[in-house]
Symmetry: C2
Subunit: 281 residues, 2 copies
DNA sequence: AACTCCGTTCGGTACAGCCGAACGAGATTC
DNA sequence: GAATCTCGTTCGGCTGTACCGAACGGAGTT
């Protein structure tokens, strides 16, 4: 993974001890099942052991970390699970899509996920793993790249070209595999195809050997809220099956739109005759 | 809700700004979909607005909160979802039990959950909702009372009487309904029954009209790790069905024990000659 | 147009949090 | 079994930061 280690320092802004404390949570998250020792924590922050000690104790008191005895090692705590669960409950999308995801997984045999849009990027809220032996590394709450994921392209396909260009400029077209689209024009052409067929395809563009199919859903005003997507192994998906899967994803996304009080009559993604009206707000 | 407002002040111990920051996260969690305004935050903490402002900004920078425009309101952020998901991944139990929970729900038509033991209390890690219209308020990462839940009693049943008494003393036998067991002797008698039949029953002891059935699972050393439980409406569960459900839960818990490399040797508490981990607060 | 209500910015100051040193428990080596 | 080492934990003094209050600016309301 190409993870930056600079999580600790949002620099100029913010309250120092809070920054440090949250950096410790991140450190514990990265440490995995092994957890952190006091020494690890102090070193990760570049502070004295006693400082790290106080911060750790504070986090433990709030249940953000738990200390595993003996030789106390610090692991992620139960409060985080409780809070993470609440995030999902506060977003009605997660709740409403759960049944649909289960259906999608049952029908396709693939891992299904739902993402909401955040600054043009898909953020995954909920996941139902497929029955296969292969598990994908698809953490919840994770921002994926918009240009290199089916959900992302499904979302972008609901925007006009100008907005897509703006997002590309902000995010950058970072390559993930050999197949990742790395030019704006290439992306716009792909989005045109996406609109025509009603669903987006990521053909080994995010990870080698892995494909995704995604379709967007929207609210009652027709604004894109997010996307459903399914993920599987490229080798197991012949082109014919891909079309069938795409239509399934499209149908489920439409049902989600309806469930959320939206209407499909206006501007479905399958019609590329989108009148580019300037949007306000 | 009868929530204490004293989350903010673990007082003597801990780093003040971190305590305040995490109290803000809790406040945002309680605020629900509405979120917090800056004024709310300042008032909840009893600090100046500018102070709350800095703390909120710091939390937003880390993704613990997100600001919803306009008139910025602060809601729980995506980092919490990501971290909450990681907690589950770091605990192998959650992963391994997922398929079992799905089976249990399919077989019984009830909501299934898995809990791990934390200081004698069950903490729920994972949940699979049943198909019924009724949804139970069962947040993940939540500590339930050991004496008033099926999972809790299933866990206690693996301990010896002395340890049960110690836990009762520490936690207190808080009544939840008219049926809640509120004496230590009553609890010990119930645990004896639990051991005899192999599963624990909560008959409207946690909430009126709701029943739970739970069974414990253990690790390779025979130490209790946690419990599986199912939850349903009391009126829909005739005694005959209860027995059948109990056996199903028992079987699935045993399978989980095996999956985790454990053996199903009898002897729950008597062999467990480690009274408790000595620790002072 | 004036008023009000919020969010946001900006310094000065008190005190909270940081550091370093010292203590104690467990493990490891000879 | 004693000595040594490592690591967690405690304590007090100093420093710098996080807090407060006041002032600013924009949006909605009368």
């Amino acid at each position: 993974m190409r993870e930056d280690r600079t999580v600790a320092a949002p620099a100029s802004n913010g309250v120092r001890s809070v920054n440090r404390a949250l950096a410790l949570v991140d450190a514990a998250a990265m440490a995995g099942q092994g957890g952190l020792s006091l020494g690890d924590a102090a070193e990760a922050l570049g502070v004295a052991k006693s400082t790290a000690f106080n911060l750790l104790k504070t986090l433990v008191a709030h249940g953000y970390l738990r200390e595993e005895r003996p030789g106390p090692r610090y692991l992620l705590g139960m409060s985080l699970m409780r809070l993470g669960d609440l995030v999902g409950q506060h977003l009605p999308v997660a709740e409403m899509s759960r049944a649909l995801l289960r259906e999608l997984t049952a029908a396709t045999g693939l891992t299904s996920r739902v993402a909401v849009v955040d600054d043009g990027c898909p953020v995954f809220l909920e996941r139902v793993d497929g029955p296969g032996m292969v598990r994908f590394h698809t953490p919840l709450g994770f921002r994926e790249a918009p240009h290199a994921s089916a959900a992302g392209k499904a979302i972008l396909a609901t925007y006009d070209d100008a907005r897509v260009r703006a997002i590309c400029e902000a995010e950058g077209l970072v390559p993930h595999t050999r197949s990742t689209i790395d030019t704006v024009d290439g992306l716009l052409a792909d989005l045109e195809q996406t609109r025509a067929r009603g669903f987006a395809v990521d053909d080994e563009e995010a990870a080698e050997g892995v494909f995704c199919v995604g379709a967007a859903f929207s609210d009652h005003q027709g604004r894109c809220l997010g996307a459903l997507s399914v993920t599987g192994i490229r080798a197991e998906a012949p082109p014919s099956r891909l079309l069938q899967i795409g239509q399934l994803v499209r149908e489920h996304a439409d049902r989600l739109t309806k469930d959320m009080g939206g209407h499909l009559n206006e501007v479905p993604a399958s019609l590329d005759t989108r009148p580019r009206r300037g949007e306000r707000g």
